[in-house]
């Protein structure tokens, strides 16, 4: 079984802010991390590999330093890693990103692609399903449980808004996973050592046969017009007094605001 896991290096968004004076992103000092959902995607791939024997290839698109997340994946136990890096990839929105990753997936070949449900910087959850369309394969989003898997098909459960659904899906296929699926293993010491030395392939647009007008900024139908700070929250009030009084005031206020 050949499995591809797509991962992304993201800024730790809890530390991203806007400079109120210049209205620009404050980038300095914001650490980069592996997108948290992707750890669950890697873990899922490793468990499948252990159960069925196979190979796990991790891919990412990004600047050279995105190699860090690939090494992290290797240290957890992935077999192979590919970094898609090319100045022409820069500025890609979800359309161009999905196209680029799909081109790489075609070159690697696969039975199953696993992505995290979404990345925490953009929060779009679009790249997985878009890739499936580019590759003309079926997909299941929000997988919370893998019930059965063999060489040609799997049975999974997906988390919908109001229920769970059990689905059968035939390979080749793509799934996106939620964190309920598993607990990602920590990297082993040996894994870390090996990952440090591992050779990571670097592919450019030419290596994956990507068309110029479908990658990077040029291939992106959406554009960011501007960014701004979210509206400030209104007044805040700490309610004083004994518990009885605090609760009295609270309920009075909530009634006044039409909440009760």
């Amino acid at each position: 079984m050949k499995i591809i896991v797509c991962v992304k290096q993201v800024p730790d968004v809890t530390e991203v802010r806007i400079d109120p004076k210049t209205n620009t992103l404050i980038r300095e000092g914001v650490p980069s991390i592996m997108n948290p959902y992707d750890l669950h995607a890697i873990e899922a791939a490793l468990q499948i590999k252990e159960a069925t024997s196979g190979k796990v290839t991790v891919i990412t698109m990004g600047p050279p330093q995105a190699e860090d997340v690939l090494r992290e994946a290797l240290s957890m136990g992935a077999d192979d890693a590919v970094l898609l890096t090319d100045r022409r990839f820069a500025g890609a929105d979800t359309w161009a990103t999905s196209y680029t990753l799909s081109q790489a997936a075609k070159k690697i070949r696969f039975d199953l692609i696993i992505c995290g449900k979404q990345a925490i910087d953009g929060d779009t959850a679009q790249v997985g399903p878009e890739m499936a369309e580019f590759l003309n394969i079926p997909h299941v989003s929000y997988v919370r449980k893998i019930e059965k898997i063999d060489a040609s098909e799997m049975i999974v459960e997906r988390l919908m808004d109001d229920c769970y659904e059990k689905l059968w899906i035939s390979f080749p296929a793509l799934i996106t996973v939620v964190k309920e699926l598993n607990n990602p293993r920590p990297p082993s010491i040996r894994g870390k050592m090996a990952a440090k030395k591992a050779n990571i392939s670097r592919w450019t647009a030419d290596d994956i046969g990507a068309e110029e007008d479908k990658i990077g900024l040029k291939g992106s139908p959406t554009m960011v017009k501007n960014i701004f700070a979210p509206p400030q929250r209104g007044e805040r009030r700490i309610l004083e007094g004994a518990p009885e009084e605090q609760v009295e005031i609270l309920l009075k206020e909530l009634r006044r605001l039409g909440c009760l």
Binding site: V16, T24, P129, Y142, R144, D162, E180, K225, R236, Q246
Partner: protein, 393 residues
């Protein structure tokens, strides 16, 4: 570079440096220089007093004037049309009116409520009622939508930013090569260009961004539930229901079973007007019983912080925050939640936030409309008691 600086005209005044939202312009040898951080937003082009910055993007060969009408995807589950569908019609009606065009709904799956879509504002409903449309089949839904779009050429398509919308709409955008903006919280028409301004939170809600899809049609957006207001309900409103010829499923995915979960069907966090949420401060799974009681009294549901989910006190479906759900109820009551940023990004756009916590320094108080420093095991039962008294009075 698709945006370039005319060195002859540039005076090095640095107006563009200060205008650029992405810090992508620097002054080099007394001239503006655009770095790779450029996102082609074009803010500098307008700002330059010397008209020395030129946007050389080639205009693509789509003719926006050929695309007319605003469409809203109406999702249903077990035949019940989701609340977000009516919200989409509310904002869709406004957009259609300002574009002076028609509003249509697209309904996949059989529903007795199809007429409701017209009463809530749709002029037309495209309706696929064959049984294969009853539950989400990503390939079937996307293929059908692509076919409909190609035949009818709407200029805008809106869908809920729900499990269903966010799963199949990306396939539609990929197939058509059009822009798709996720989880919008604001939508307007740009008066000058007629483009759809799509406003959405990014970076976990720490930043808002306005997104455009200037050269592709339709412009597609998923819209966060509970943000848009429904329009006017007119029981006599007349509209046209157009039956769609059904397509066949690809058969590469099949739903074997719908697993109802009493808890999950109550927990629909995105639709809830009131959420009572619990964290580590509850101390045990039993604590959630009290929260359910309060939630039931308030007609709401129960949420949880990651800490409570990780402790195994409550299923993941309840998790609010970065790796859970993003919610914006009218009232959010946080009980024993300290307010890690990862939690705050999932709930800070709630209208009214009440925080109950022992620790006066807990960050949750920074976003709380009303804060109570105290023991939730005392406060919550008191609230329940007073609410019950209020009812019996």
């Amino acid at each position: 570079m698709l945006i370039r600086v005319d060195i002859e005209k540039c005076t090095g005044c640095a107006t563009c440096v200060n205008t650029c939202p992405f810090s992508a312009i620097i002054i080099k040898d007394n001239k503006a220089f655009i770095t790779e951080a450029c996102t082609l937003c074009g803010a500098c082009v307008e700002s330059c007093p010397e008209s020395a910055i030129i946007d050389e993007r080639e205009k693509e060969e789509i003719k926006p004037e050929e695309f007319k009408g605003v469409w809203c995807f109406a999702e249903q589950s077990k035949g019940r049309i989701a609340s977000v569908a009516y919200e989409l019609l509310g904002i869709g009606r406004k957009l259609a009116d300002s574009l002076n065009t028609e509003l249509s709904a697209v309904l996949f799956g059989k529903s007795q409520e199809v007429e409701e879509l017209i009463k809530w504002g749709a002029d037309k409903v495209y309706y696929a009622d064959a049984p294969q449309y009853d539950s989400l089949d990503d390939e079937l839904y996307s293929k059908t939508m692509v076919k409909l779009i190609k035949e009818n050429k709407p200029e805008i398509l809106l869908a809920g930013a729900t499990a269903i919308g966010r799963s199949f709409i990306p396939r539609v955008a990929a197939r058509l090569k059009v822009g798709l903006t996720a989880d919008c919280t604001g939508l307007e028409i740009d008066r000058e260009t007629g483009n759809l301004l799509q406003i959405r939170p990014a970076f976990g809600g720490n930043i808002m961004a306005t997104i455009l899809s200037p050269t592709s049609r339709p412009q597609i957006a998923t819209v966060r539930p509970r943000v848009m207001k429904r329009g006017e309900y007119i029981a006599q409103r007349k509209g046209e229901i157009i039956k769609i010829e059904p397509l066949n499923p690809t058969g590469r995915v099949r739903i074997l079973e719908r697993i109802e979960d009493a808890c999950l069907s109550r927990v629909n966090l995105q639709d809830a007007k009131v959420i009572v949420s619990g964290g580590r401060g509850l101390g045990s799974p039993e604590g959630f019983k009290m929260l359910w009681e309060l939630a039931n009294l308030l007609g709401g549901t129960v949420g949880a912080s990651r800490a409570a989910v990780d402790e195994g006190w409550i299923p993941y479906a309840h998790q609010v925050g970065q790796t859970g759900k993003t919610v914006c109820p009218k009232l959010y009551i946080a009980c024993g939640i300290s307010g890690a940023v990862q939690h705050l990004v999932g709930m800070q756009s709630s209208d009214i936030i009440v925080a109950i916590n022992k620790d006066p320094d807990a960050p949750i108080f920074n976003v709380a409309t009303y804060g109570i420093v105290g023991d939730l095991k005392v406060i919550v039962p008191l609230i329940i008691k007073k609410l019950k008294e209020g009812v019996s009075e």
